[in-house]
């Protein structure tokens, strides 16, 4: 393995740490939360900057509207709740008051995807990337580990415009540099490879690295690219990689419809058609279970990426 984890940490704690850092340096940063301060790791910000923190109660639609209004006075609101409530529940509020109005709101969504675990399908948001990427003006980011989530949280404060920042609940390997510069819309190549490109986002980035390791042991060279920004998509990096490898796999903790794979398929089909396989949730709701059990049952693990890579390579060679 070319990358080593410094230990398991949850991405939501990266968000909380980034938000706290922002609070210390940017007086215009304000934060809102709909009764999930502990789950979103917003305690430090809410304790240290009580004047700039707004507990909205269990009223997400109001939270989005408040955020839009706060931007009008020059504030940079970070609105935090679970992904399921941060998108589907308030889609119309985001569409009209944030995206169409082009307001500088940062929608910060934790517990995204199936790794939310035991709470089950009601809370396992698997459609949020699709919902958010369809909105004009919206930037969509899905970070892979603690360090990257912290860096992204800090970076989006300097981007003027609506942002959807997606992260999760479970502790996962923390392997990206603590001092990284996060650039919105710039893919990060993690391994050089020649036979297959693996474009992964969120928790699937580490799984993709594990898969690349397994493939290497079988004599297959995979190039792993971390697509932390789904919109705007780094088309150049994607094309450059598939021009070299000639086939690709996408991997994400999201519905196949509307997810990263669907975005990349559009680029591949338009610019440089190659065999493309997708590791994603295939048109089904999740269920209760531990995050690891669910990732295996729903085919979002390293062996699933390995199989997809072999299918892509076989199609290329036919």
């Amino acid at each position: 393995m070319k990358y080593t984890s410094t230990g398991n940490k949850d991405t939501r704690s990266g968000f909380g740490a980034g938000l706290y850092e922002l609070g210390k340096v940017n007086p215009n940063v304000v934060a809102l939360c709909a009764d999930l301060i502990g789950s979103l790791k917003m305690e430090d910000f809410s304790r240290e900057f009580p004047d700039r923190f707004f507990q909205t109660g269990i009223a997400e639609a109001n939270m989005i509207g408040l955020s839009a209004g706060l931007t009008i006075g020059g504030k940079i609101p970070f609105a935090g709740t679970f992904a399921v409530f941060a998108t589907g529940r308030v889609y119309d509020q985001i569409r009209q008051s944030v995206a169409y109005s082009n307001k500088n709101v940062k929608i910060c969504a934790s517990h995204a995807g199936i790794t939310l675990g035991e709470d089950g399908a009601t809370h396992q948001m698997l459609e949020d990337i699709g919902l958010m990427k369809m909105l004009p003006n919206m930037t969509v980011i899905n970070t892979c580990d603690y360090n990257q989530t912290k860096a992204a949280t800090i970076a989006i404060a300097n981007h003027v415009g609506p942002v959807y920042l997606r992260f999760g609940r479970p502790a996962v390997p923390n392997f990206t540099p603590a001092d990284q510069q996060f650039t919105i819309g710039k893919a990060v190549k993690l391994t050089e490879g020649t036979q297959v490109s693996v474009f992964a986002t969120g928790h699937l980035v580490w799984k993709a690295l594990e898969a690349a390791d397994m493939l290497e042991q079988q004599g297959i060279s995979a190039e792993v690219v971390n697509i932390h920004t789904i919109k705007p998509l780094d088309e150049e990096a994607i094309i450059r990689s598939i021009q070299k490898t000639g086939c690709a796999v996408t991997a994400e903790e999201h519905m196949m419809n509307g997810g990263l794979g669907d975005s990349i398929a559009q680029v591949v089909a338009r610019i440089h058609p190659v065999p493309l396989e997708m590791v994603a949730i295939n048109d089904t709701f999740g269920e209760s279970g531990t995050p690891e059990e669910l990732m295996v049952k729903y085919g979002l693990d390293a062996p699933s990426i390995v199989k997809a890579a072999k299918r892509a390579i076989a199609r290329k060679n036919n």
């Binding site: 909205t56 989005i64 408040l66 955020s67 209004g69 706060l70 509020q93 009209q96 109005s101």
Partner: protein, 281 residues
Amino acid sequence: MTDFEFLNKMAAQVRRDVIRMVHRPSSGHPGGSLGCADFFTALYFDVLRADPKHFTMDGTGEDLFFLSNGHLSAAWYSVLARRGYFDVKELSTFRLLNSRLQGHPTPAEHLPGIRIASGSLGQGLSVGCGAALAKKLNGDSHLVYTLHGDGELQEGQIWEAALFAAAKGIDNLIATVDYNGKQIDGPVDTVVGLGDLKAKWLAFGWDVLETNGNDMPALVKTLHEAVEHTGKGKPVIILMRTQMGMGVDFMVGNHKWHGKAPNDEEFAKAMAQLPETIGDF
């Protein structure tokens, strides 16, 4: 000293503007715009502390207004233009292709005076609360105003915001309601009645004022009274009794004119009742 003769003349011109604006594209919502012509006029020409010639998105050092029931765009655009936010000639482009005067208001077209999109109902009170919080954070003592339809109060988000505003003591906010008792499908009471509306807002912890929204002196007095009620720990709301379609006899009190433009014959009849007082666009 308030010049009521001027305000009434202006409101009459705004009503004429509204009918001319919706007639050209054969599209729009004349009923609510006619009912609130007096309100928009009173607010922009007598109450709101804002500089139309130097519009800024953040509105620092100014009072802000948010139209939550965005389908009243025609009257709002008319008053904004008449107040000097943009040229009155532009009113002739309402709802036409490539216009800044979209069917429902939006900041996307950079029309001076507009800070948020509205049209999908129920969102403006939350936005107003957010803007009011920002004013408090910025040490800006100016006020935030919103307008809502009474039918719009059926939206759940309104009550989320109502609860929040009172709980957090947002007392630099004056919400107003176009209380005309009408909505698209009929009288509000037969669609989903609001019950004792004043009691509801009082129970939510708001300071509630009532007025006749089509009586200029009464309306102006209540708006100034509302300003006096700010800064006392509670959000303020004015329930304005109005008549949908006010000013055109065949439209008054008829919910069928919520979202329908007059045909040529109806237009001529309406024009005959709406004198040109300031000068047409």
